[in-house]
Amino acid sequence: MGHSMGDLDLFNPTPEHRALRQTVRAFAEREVEPQALASDRSEHFNLPLFRKLGELGLLGITVDERFGGAGMDAVAAVIAHEELAAVDPGFTLAYLAHAMLFVNNVFLNASDEQRERYLPDACAGRTVCGMCMSEPGAGTDVLGLATTAERRGDGYVLNGAKMWITNGAVDDQTLGDAFLVYARMKGAPRAQLTSFLVDKGTPGFSLGQRLKDKLGMRASSTAELVFEDCEVSERQRVGPEGGATLHMMRNLEIERVTLAAMSLGIARRSLDVMNRYARERTSFGEPLAHFGQVQRHLAESYAEWMAGRSYTYQTAAQIDLGSAGHRLDSDGVKLFCATMAKNVADRAIQVLGGYGYVGEYVVERLWRDAKLLEIGGGTLEAHHKNMTRELGHVQTLR
């Protein structure tokens, strides 16, 4: 072997990855952290802060430079999500919905003409965008979605409703700017979906409701979006009719790996908080860290975090954004990390006792935010289903 394995840094494989982590961490600590608690309390999506992500180049992190992106890889996307989520998972979710679900998806799957129309504004933060998959009656059974598209004249008419759409609204009344919407041509088979780019202002497209009172992730806004005889032209269709199921599968991998990265950020911050507290706080005349019960929380949390971190970065390093094929591990990292982060945040609250239960000490917010990652972007049960199917193709694990 040419290189010493000791030089391998799985989490910062190149100097550019290290520099990226440094930039995002500095930005997160200086500008995202100070607003995190207040945005959570008031269920406020911080649009000016979001636009700053565009100035830094984070919104088009995986997109080619010719469309206004930074041309970085899946590991870079994982670094950005981990660092931002360590201070504000809610805000990070809005970032993910825009940069991974819309921007990366359009970059991978849309035509050059569509990329030129949508990506420069989306990468710069001039627009806030999202992706519409789930519906009031279809979640884990995504191919059971009921939104229809029908040919009319030169274009299409969309009918249906989409649920749990992050960035669906930017405030209580205002729609986000553009969405990638999955639908099925009327009469088409279950597995053949077709996707469309739908802009705010398209007749028949409206904000059903902004969903309030979420348990966590309150710094991102979530909405129900309604399509009622919504007319879109042919140039808004992405790829061929029936071709969007593959687009969806391609993009789900980076979505799940970056959601796992958010869990890593939540767990790291929770560990930092409980580690510091366990050394400073004394009980019965000794620091908490001297008690076996607290040692177990710290040691198990660290080992689980590092296991999840190693698995996630290893998986991200293998992902080629242009192709599908890492289903087993992209589901696997999210399955492991989502629950790991929820448990680590829970232990942090336990170590802090009463202090852990109030907002000022951060971990109660992280605990609430962590739960969403067991549901959104694939429920734990969806991961069980997908992984078991993938394992059916494996004769012997190597």
Binding site: E16, A19, L20, Q22, T23, L56, G57, E65
Partner: protein
């Protein structure tokens, strides 16, 4: 305008409490600490970038050359500066233990003679040694003026003359100076209107930023391709030796962690006098 900006990598100042002293007390050990750009140098770099750009149009109109004297690994710190916008870098290789302000100033003077910049902008000190002399010794070796603790820098003739405000304990001193000159900066240089170069519109305000600008992702990717020249002290003809040697390092005594509450100013003064013995 061409500006030379000396930068140094230092052990993460936010975790200075993790710095330890070796068992024999001869050196400070920094194991396990991350390396970062000296914060004072970050501010100097920000000032230099503002002087050499149109801040409103976000276009470069001059050149910033970074120079670092230290171990090879300092290349990461130089790349960080390149990612923020500097054009190229120079590394003068040297072992940190063989360097002091005198050797650094001699190396910087040798680089300055080769590069002939209009200006050298640097931090007033580094957060590890806190000596606060390299800038002044460098100016002396070059025979240039030294302006310390700059908080405002203005030029309207592409760096031939500068109007500078100096941040002093007793107030603000205004000076005019003709280049080439060595300027050291204080943190006030990060003020939104601290730098006027005659190119950026006079009413333009930079955003408030704690440590200067961030390296953008585009900047990070471009920095990969920017040149970094490698030099050695002997190659530059620097034969300076350390003039300062450290005999012994000690950690400050641990704080007792005790808190005393007082009822009145009189009681506070009394306790400061009799218990803390600081008055």
């Amino acid at each position: 305008m061409k500006i030379l900006v000396p930068i140094k990598r230092v052990a993460d100042p936010d975790n200075a409490n993790k710095v330890k002293v070796s068992a024999d007390g001869t050196q400070v050990t920094t194991e396990g600490l991350e390396w970062k750009m000296n914060p004072f140098d970050e501010w100097a770099l920000e000032a230099a970038l503002r002087l050499t750009e149109d801040g409103a149009a976000k276009s470069r109109v001059g050149e910033v050359v970074l120079v670092s004297v230290g171990p090879k690994e300092a290349v990461a710190t130089v790349r960080e500066g390149l990612a923020k916008g500097a054009e190229r870098g120079v590394i003068v290789e040297g072992n940190d233990n063989d360097l002091d302000s005198n050797v650094i100033a001699a190396a910087l003077a040798a680089v300055a003679k080769k590069e002939s910049p209009d200006l050298i902008v640097m931090g007033k000190q580094t957060v590890d040694g806190d000596s606060n002399v390299a800038g002044t010794v460098l100016a002396d070796k070059l025979g240039w003026p030294i302006i310390n603790y700059a908080m405002r820098i203005e030029t309207s003739d592409d760096g031939k003359t500068f109007a500078i405000k100096r941040d002093l304990d007793v107030g603000v001193a205004s000076v005019k100076v003709t280049g080439p000159v060595v300027i050291t900066v204080s943190d006030s240089i990060l003020h939104p209107e601290s730098v006027k170069n005659g190119v950026t519109p006079a009413d333009f305000k930079y955003p408030e930023a704690e440590g200067g600008r961030y390296a953008s992702l585009k900047g990070i990717m471009q920095a990969k391709k920017k040149p970094i020249a490698e030099q050695t002290l002997s190659g530059l003809g620097v034969d300076a030796k350390r003039t300062v040697t450290y005999k012994k390092f000690e950690l400050p005594p641990a704080r007792s962690g005790q808190t005393t509450f007082v009822e009145s100013v009189e009681e506070l003064v009394e306790k400061l006098r009799t218990e803390a013995k600081v008055l």
